[in-house]
């Protein structure tokens, strides 16, 4: 029998910031080609987890293995096929859009820099912004630019931290459509955080619930709705967040 190797495997991952435990011994694996949602209230440890998976924050303990390789020993190799986007991490505003894209394409060692940018600016419909200063782009345009940057190296695995935060409903909806296309047309595996439960429900085949640094549940949105006997994922979220956080909601 052939066991499919997960694209990402995390074992007993811990992060302590002098005193506070942000991530408290989580283990999970992600299979290739899916969109997985990482949910949880503010401060649950979602961002910290993603930053550790990208070797931007050093874990206190545990192991991370991506494409079957240990992050500690294969950082360059892994990161060349991974990418990341978050509206909280903007590209330099004092550079032109094409300068930013060219710089990152070169950093990733893209063979045909021009051709890759050409292909992606059409996919995201941002060709008209190429000669503009990045500072002049609107939030929605920046989101598309960030996603363009995130696809420059044809990643196999994409981490998105609240990609639709601060977008209006129309642009958020277009962004979701783009994410679905990225996953379908390019076969990219996506790990993704959001506070919008309807969005998670629409996009994710699987959700992992984090609470106070621990995984408290894991399953398809449908499974969780049934398991908690609620009418939608939003209610499941409230139920989990409030039950497990009894002490702090009392005061």
């Amino acid at each position: 029998m052939i066991v499919r190797m997960p694209i990402l495997q995390v074992q007993n991952l811990v992060k302590k910031f002098n005193g506070t435990t942000a991530v408290d011994g989580i283990s999970f694996a992600i299979e290739e080609g899916k969109i997985t949602g990482l949910l949880g209230p503010n401060g649950a440890g979602k961002t910290t987890t993603i930053l550790m998976l990208l070797d931007l924050v050093t874990p206190t303990g545990g192991t991370i293995s991506i494409f079957g390789k240990d992050m500690r020993h294969h950082r360059e190799e892994i990161l060349s096929k991974v990418n990341f986007s978050s509206p909280y991490v903007a590209l330099p505003s004092n550079m032109k859009v094409w300068e930013n894209l060219t710089t990152f394409a070169r950093l990733y060692g893209v063979k045909d820099v021009k051709g890759k940018i050409e292909e992606l600016v059409d996919f995201f419909d941002i060709r008209a912004f190429l000669p503009k200063m990045t500072a002049t782009l609107s939030t929605g345009q920046l989101t598309r630019l960030n996603l363009t940057k995130a696809l420059l190296n044809d990643p196999k695995l994409l981490f998105l931290d609240e990609p639709t935060a601060s977008l209006d409903p129309d642009i958020a909806d277009r962004t979701r459509t783009m994410l679905k296309r990225i996953q379908k047309e390019r076969g990219v595996t996506i790990l993704y955080t959001s506070h919008n439960m309807a969005e998670i429900d629409e996009l994710c085949e699987r959700v992992i619930f984090l609470q106070a640094g621990k995984i408290v549940d894991d399953g398809t949105p449908k499974e969780l709705v049934i398991k908690y006997g609620r009418k939608d994922l939003n209610e499941v979220f409230l139920s989990i967040a409030r039950n497990n956080n009894h002490a702090s909601t009392q005061n």
């Binding site: 924050v57 710089t103 950093l107």
Partner: protein
């Protein structure tokens, strides 16, 4: 080390310099002002009898060399600060870029800036004061190279300090060398320094460079010992700065501050 990643960062800075007046002023304007200032001072001093000392050559040579050093240091520190100011660290270190490649690209930017400033100042010194710094042949080149190296070490050190204390410490990036300038015997021989201070002065590569440079200009003979000391102290400074930078970078990742650097 991958060349394409180092050059990607270098090109990124060239994009910025190309259209930024403040950045170009930093390279071209201030060195020219300094050259004019010190040129006029030395022209004035020339009127007094200095016992055969060529004051124009000594002072102008000193200021040109000093600027090479300070350009080298500032280029390295500013290359780093550009990413702090634009909060770009997460983006660049989410690529396969390594800390070593990052340092090398900063250091190469220093080299480019030093070459530009050196050329501008050499031409101006010749046009305005008939000082040909190449008249000393190749003797001054190894000393200039040491200034470049010391600028790298100081630049990386200032950068590591900013990693540790945030941009509230960025004034260090612009003033660090002025702290060592009095000890470096730029405009006067180290022998005028008080006894107790002189020992510390000789720990600095810059002191050996400026002593050596004066020997070349005044006597025409080549001070091998000074050059040796300059290389030795530089090797130590560079080693310590690079280690300190790696250490601070690892600490920043430990504390989860890469995203929050400012």
């Amino acid at each position: 080390m991958r060349l394409h990643r180092i050059s990607a960062l270098l090109f990124r800075h060239l994009y910025l310099y190309k259209r930024s007046v403040p950045r170009l002023m930093d390279v071209f304007f201030w060195p020219v002002i300094e050259l004019l200032l010190w040129g006029f001072i030395s022209l004035y001093l020339q009127k007094f009898d200095m016992g055969g000392l060529n004051i124009v050559t000594v002072l102008l040579g000193a200021i040109i060399f000093w600027d090479l050093l300070s350009q080298s240091q500032r280029a390295v520190s500013v290359a780093f600060l550009e990413d702090v100011w634009e909060r770009n660290f997460l983006n660049i270190f989410v690529t396969p870029l390594t800390v070593g490649e990052f340092m090398v690209s900063a250091v190469l930017l220093g080299l480019v800036r030093v070459a530009l400033v050196g050329a501008v100042m050499a031409v101006l010194a010749f046009a305005l004061y008939h000082l040909n710094i190449f008249a000393f042949g190749f003797s001054l080149i190894p000393f200039a190279a040491n200034l470049l190296l010391f600028g790298w070490a100081a630049g990386l050190f200032a950068t590591a300090i900013i990693l540790r204390y945030g941009t509230s410490a960025q004034v260090i990036a612009f003033s660090l060398l002025f702290l060592v300038q009095p000890l470096s015997a730029v405009f006067y021989p180290a022998s005028v320094l008080p006894e107790g201070v002189r020992f510390f002065a000789y720990l600095l590569p810059s002191t050996h460079v400026f002593e050596g440079m004066r020997t070349v200009i005044a006597t025409g003979s080549f001070p091998y010992a000074e050059l040796g000391w300059a290389f030795l102290t530089n090797a130590i400074c560079l080693f310590l700065s690079i280690r300190y930078f790696y250490y601070m970078f690892a600490r920043v990742k430990e504390q989860g501050r890469l995203m929050k650097l400012d």
